[in-house]
Amino acid sequence: MKYADEFRDKAIALGLARAIRSEANPQRSYRFMEFCGGHTHAISRYGLEDILPKNVRMIHGPGCPVCVLPAGRIDMAIRLADRPEVILCVYGDLMRVPGSQGASLLKAKARGADVRMVYSTVDAIRIAEENPEQEVVFFAIGFETTTPPTAILIRRAEKKQLENFSVVCNHVRTPPAMQNILESPDTRSIRRVEIDGFVGPAHVSIIIGTEPYEVFAEEFGKPVVISGFEPLDMMQAILMLVRQVNENRNEVENQYSRAVTRDGNPRAKEEVSNIFELRDQFEWRGLGLVPYSGLKLKQTYARFDAEVRFALNELRVPDNPACECGAILRGVKKPVDCKLFGTVCTPETPVGSCMVSSEGACAAHWTYGRFRDRQQKRAS
């Protein structure tokens, strides 16, 4: 694949690993959080942790939209899908995410609810047009990357004067969550993770640009390097972070210059700001209520807001107490620290949301990492 394969060259990756090893100060450790699930996935898939020196550690962050959606919101989706007049459209990843008491959209569908997986918001419009007698609801999730397609969906629904269409908006924003991770109280119950720098999101940054991360460099004194999703991108970003730490610099640098600019995609930002506004707060699995981290439809689009249309309210439901997703999403624990990992909880039967999406830390480790664990055990 052009513009992807070039960034997967093994010899160059190993050369970069050597550069990182020779520049990393053996007297100290480097702890970098990759915020984005896409990066978590790439680290596991390409085994990057195996070629990094021991004192350069990657901490997996909460940037997987499926993983951070709280169980209460899944319950809300299920309640909607159970209404006979509703066709609920979702991105496929959502189907197996556990709500409360093991409920999921997949199970709702099996017992007759009309839940349809869509690849694109364009499909949701088509379904609404084809089913004028039904209420078609799109359950929108995702970070800044996925928000503009939902904005366009609503603009189109308005243009087409669709009467039977609405959206549940669960879109969340990256910077408030990064801030939450840095600011969370250092108590025994919610431990704070020590971070020396961030590998910044690739595709989120295509939309919002690098500018929104400048506060982390300036006010929190943390280097941020925006990185592409290919293995060479990540290795270069890690080298850039090591250099910033070594030189006591806290800057926002852009490794992914082939797609990301300081200002992002102006058209996408405008589409989003036309349709959405900030919620005062939004609940994240693992992080709790995060101020100004979520979006909702503006008042002028209330007729497309399923939460208004169906008078939905969100109930906070506790996660399975044995599931460590919360601590894992904060970077405080690793998937193997969870007692259920790989026994009760697998991608086939996920207990927590981190096991559902391929970008979730538990699923990524299950798919690519556990064999490595075994090899390491055997080697030692």
Partner: protein
């Protein structure tokens, strides 16, 4: 679901749509988020939308830099 892939634009369609080719496999996507798109451009697609054009000059620059950094790394270990 955040995974996104590069694809070549092969045909512009009405209604802010376009046909792209991913290693020979064609797909219809929305290009509502992109300005000044032309056939032959490469874009990054995510959930059926093009998010941005890929800048070929920056690709070249990054690949050159990657090669340089990688050889420096090799030199450092010898």
């Amino acid at each position: 679901m955040c995974l996104a892939i590069p694809a070549e634009v092969t045909k512009l369609l009405p209604d802010e749509m376009a046909v792209v080719s991913i290693d020979g496999v064609t797909k219809e996507i929305s290009v509502a988020l992109i300005e000044d798109l032309a056939v032959g451009d490469y874009v990054i697609i995510h959930v059926g939308y093009a998010l941005t054009k890929i800048d070929p000059d920056e690709v070249r620059r990054t690949l050159e830099l990657l090669r340089e950094l990688s050889t420096e790394g090799q030199g450092a270990m010898q």
